[in-house]
Structures are given as C-alpha cells and as structure tokens.
Amino acid sequence: MDILVCFKLSPDSKDILVSNGAINTDRAEWNVGEYDLVAVEAAAQLAAATGRKLIGVSVGGSQLANTRFRKNMLSRGCDSLSLVMNDALVQADTHKTAVALAAAVTEIGNYDLIVCGEGSQDLYFRQTGIQLGELLGLPVINGISALNGIEGSVLLAERSTDSGIEVLEIPLPAVVCVTSDICQSRIPKMKDILQAGRKPVKELDAAGIPCDATGSEIIKVALPKSVQRKAVNFSGTPEEIADQIVAMLAKEGLMPGGM
C-alpha cells in the first residue's frame, strides 16, 4: 500500500494586495507553504522507514502545471505526483477542497494512509485534512506530533494536546494531520533534484472530480484595522533611556501600583 501526502499550491502571503474589496494575487509568487512541506517530509520519512511509495497529491488551478513546483515536490521524497487541475478550485474553501481531494484519492486508490499538514499558508483553516477523512469515512485525527511506524494495519503515532501527549494506535486506512513542528522540512540535495525530473506526474481527469462543493460564501474582504501609533523615539545612554521609559510609564499611568 502507498502513502499519500496532500499539499496546496497557494499565493505567498507577503505578495497579497487588497484592492476594490477583492484579494489581488497578480503579483504573488505561488508556492507550497512551510507546514505542507513539513508534512511531506514526515510522510517521506515514514515511507522510507516502512518501504512504501509516497505519492504527492494536490488539487488546484492551472498553477499546478508549473514544472518548477512539480520538480520541487518530487525532490522532497515523493515518488510521483497525482494532480487535479481545474480553475474552479482556485481559492476554494475547505469543504470544496476536501470534496475534490476525496474524489482524487479514491481514484488513485491503493493507499492506506493519507498525511496532511497543519494548515495551508494562505487560508490556514487547519480543517481540510479533517474534512477529507470524514468524507472518506476513515479514522481521522489532527495534532499528530510523531509518526512512529506501521505495525500490520496499525499506525503508531503521538498526538500533541492541551494537556500533553497521547500515544495512539490508529487503524489503517486513516487520515492524519501532522503538526508544524513534527520535523524540519528538507533542503533537497542535488541528487534529489536531478532524480525529480525523471519521476512521473499524473494529471487526473478533472471531469470526474467534483469541483463545486462550496461550503461558505465570501461576503467581504478588507485590510485589518490599523492603529496609528506615535513612534516616539527614546535615545541616550541606557540609563537615560531607562529614565525616559519610567517617565513615560508614569505619565501614561502605567507604573505598577500607580494605576
């Protein structure tokens, strides 16, 4: 059985503009967020440790045709990629993405574990993997902070919660969402990059994949409220600055006991 790992190609947050009440991604570089790269690495390590193949899965718009993106993901331990490209999936919400992913992984078949990251870099809902598991009717769990191996048809894992660590036995097939600090993402080596070009990429027939299962409508987008700050500079020796800070705290009524 193969391991599947899901990731999202999305516009980089730092290049986002809001204009005329809409999000403008024209100037944005599209890449895969760090949390997804961590998930790929965690899945790649488990695949290597258990002698399985790792298939990278992504659903999205025509940006997925980018060869640099494909080679990048293939240089991180994926043996192949399976992609669904349909522009109806650009800026899809969690439910729409999960429905498309569920159809895609069903078509791929022959898996007993699907690994997802903590959340995408753009929307960061931390929900898609969970919805995917539920839609597939499979055991699904989030917050996985260690993948310790597979014994028979059971995944041994640890989960990070409010109160500590849960040591879990997860019956396969299953969907797991890993934490952003389960491991460090990989810096691909030259050998990985050269091999990536020879690995297969499969484009699934988008006609068979539902790409319209929107679960929310966007009413409005705006910039967050900004507060005008005074930006008064204090300068001098450290002792003089300390005096200025204490004088400021007194004036603002912020000295301990002086409120």
Binding site: I130, S163, I218, A231, V232
Partner: protein, 302 residues
C-alpha cells in the same frame, strides 16, 4: 432566532462562548459537553446543557453531536480552539457540507463571520452556505456575562462511532494557567533574545512591572523556550493589555495582528527600520535589548 450550540472540551472557554452566543441570537445557548461539572455550571450560568456520556475521548462524540444538530436544528455551533475542537468541528462541518470558520474574530446576527487569512494580512467575512454555521472562537473574543435565568441539564443518547482510535497512554504535562488575554501588562520577547537563560532578566523585568511574559511563535514552537500558551499571534492569543513591551521582535504580521488592541506599545529593537518599530510602536528604543533591559531593571528597583 434559533439557538446556538456551544461545544468545547476546555473548562476555561465555555462561559465566554455562551455569552457571545446569547448576545447575538438572544436565545439561551445549549452547551454540549461531556463534563458533568461544566453542564451544571452552564445551567447555573443561565444556559441549557446537553450532557453526553459513553466515550473516553472527546472526538468519539462527533456522531452524537451531529445527531443532536440534526434533531434540534440549531442556527449553528460555537466551538473553542483546542485540538479536539478543531477535529470535531471539522468532522461536523464535513457532515453538514459546509466549511467551519476557524479563529473567528466576530459574528453578527446574520451569522456573517469575520476571520483572518493570509497570515493576518486580510480580514475576510464569510457565511455558511448550509442550514447551520460552524465557527471556532479563540480565548478573549467575548466578555463573560451570565444570563439571568436558570438553565436545565438534559442527557444525550450516545451514538456509537464507526471507528476507534486507541489511546494507549497519556503523557501529561503541567498545564500553564496563564491567561494572556486578561493581562494588563505584557512583556514579550522575539528572536532578538539569543539564549534561553537570557529570559531570566526578562522575567525579572516582567516581575518588577507586574507583567505577564509572552513571546512570538518561534520562541514557543521550535525553540521551546516558553510554553505554547504564551505566544501571541494569528494562531494563538489576541491580547489587549494597557502596556505591551516588545523586546527583540521584528513585527511580522502573524504576530502583530495579535497586539492591535494594546493601548501603549513600547519596543526595544536594534533595528530601527523593522516593522515593529516603524508601524506598531508608540515608543521606540533603537538599542540592544541586552543594554536596555538591565538598565531598566536597575531604574525600576530604585
């Protein structure tokens, strides 16, 4: 208007969620819980409670909660933001054919929900396309206010889940009792702090100012120098202190979205051009924090 369900496994969260749900719908919320103490306290607080039993882990109540939503047809569900809340809300949303909206900042009486995307650089307002909405609220989003009525507690039939994940062992850690969202003064550190031991001087400064210690995400996750409960930003705490002091914080938007509601912000950073100093501070000290913090400690001791 229909009532709203309040669902959380954290004892610290349900009161604020009940207050928020009541304030927008005007109907007594229903607290859905597996914790007897919460159920009784919720009834005394003026909400009704649905007490679930039969499972050892919270996520095994997903089918029970879904059946209750189907039966009672609430307007929607307010969840907290614990890992179990994220899991159960996502599974419930999948069953309802909608998207759960995480880390909501506000909700109005049409159930339009404001939330942050793109690392906090965009505020989006979203509405569910289904019969119900599902929203998750972090700490500090609503003021706690009891409802002047007595609620009732009802028992809920357990729906057996279709699968089981076995919890073989629980390694508990000490739970941090800090509530940054209620703190009046906060001293926060970023990656300008070069080693864990140096937090001692920051701790001393915080004690002199009667302030809580806080940090940016990399200090808590990755470096593990502080408890995760102490980091401020997009995926954690949104604070509103009277005084916020930043030490060696560059001011990435993922952090600064969490401090917008601070009254006075003082920053110490070697780099006068970083975003924290240029955009987010009332008072700026363009100096090495390793010089300023000790001097300030000495001055405050006088």
């Amino acid at each position: 208007m229909a009532r709203i369900f309040v669902i959380t496994d954290r004892r610290s969260e349900w009161k604020a969620l009940v207050s928020g749900a009541y304030s927008i719908s005007g109907e007594k919320p229903l607290v859905v819980t597996a914790d007897k103490a919460i159920a009784q306290a919720a009834a005394d607080f003026g909400a009704d409670a649905a007490l679930m039993s039969g499972a050892e882990v919270f996520w095994n109540y997903t089918d029970t909660i879904a059946a209750l939503v189907e039966e009672l047809q609430p307007a929607g569900c307010f969840f907290g933001t614990s890992p179990d809340c994220r899991l159960v809300s996502g599974r419930l949303a999948a069953k309802l054919g909608i998207s759960a909206i995480p880390d909501a900042k506000s909700i109005d009486n049409t159930y339009a929900i404001e939330h942050l995307i793109y690392g906090g650089s965009v505020v989006q307002t979203s509405k569910s396309t289904g019969k119900q909405f599902v929203a998750l609220f972090g700490p500090g989003q609503f003021e706690e206010a009891a409802i002047p009525e007595q609620g009732t507690v009802m028992n809920v039939d357990y729906v057996e889940p279709k699968w089981q994940i076995a919890v073989k062992e629980k390694k508990t850690k000490e739970i941090s009792a800090v509530d940054l969202t209620a703190a009046k003064r906060i001293v926060a550190v970023g990656l300008g702090i070069s080693k864990k031991e140096d937090l001692d001087m920051v701790r001393e400064l915080a004690a002199l100012l009667q302030a809580e210690m806080a940090c940016t995400r990399p200090i808590a996750e990755g470096l593990d120098w502080m408890e995760p409960e102490r980091y401020i930003g997009i995926s954690a705490n949104f604070v509103k202190p009277d005084l916020y002091i930043s030490l060696g914080i560059s001011g990435q938007v993922q952090h600064t979205v969490g401090i917008t509601d601070s009254k006075v912000i003082l920053s110490v950073n070697k780099d006068p051009d970083c975003a924290m100093m240029k955009q987010y501070s009332d008072y700026c000290v363009a100096e090495d924090l390793y010089k300023i913090v000790p001097a300030l400690i000495e001055r405050l001791k006088k």
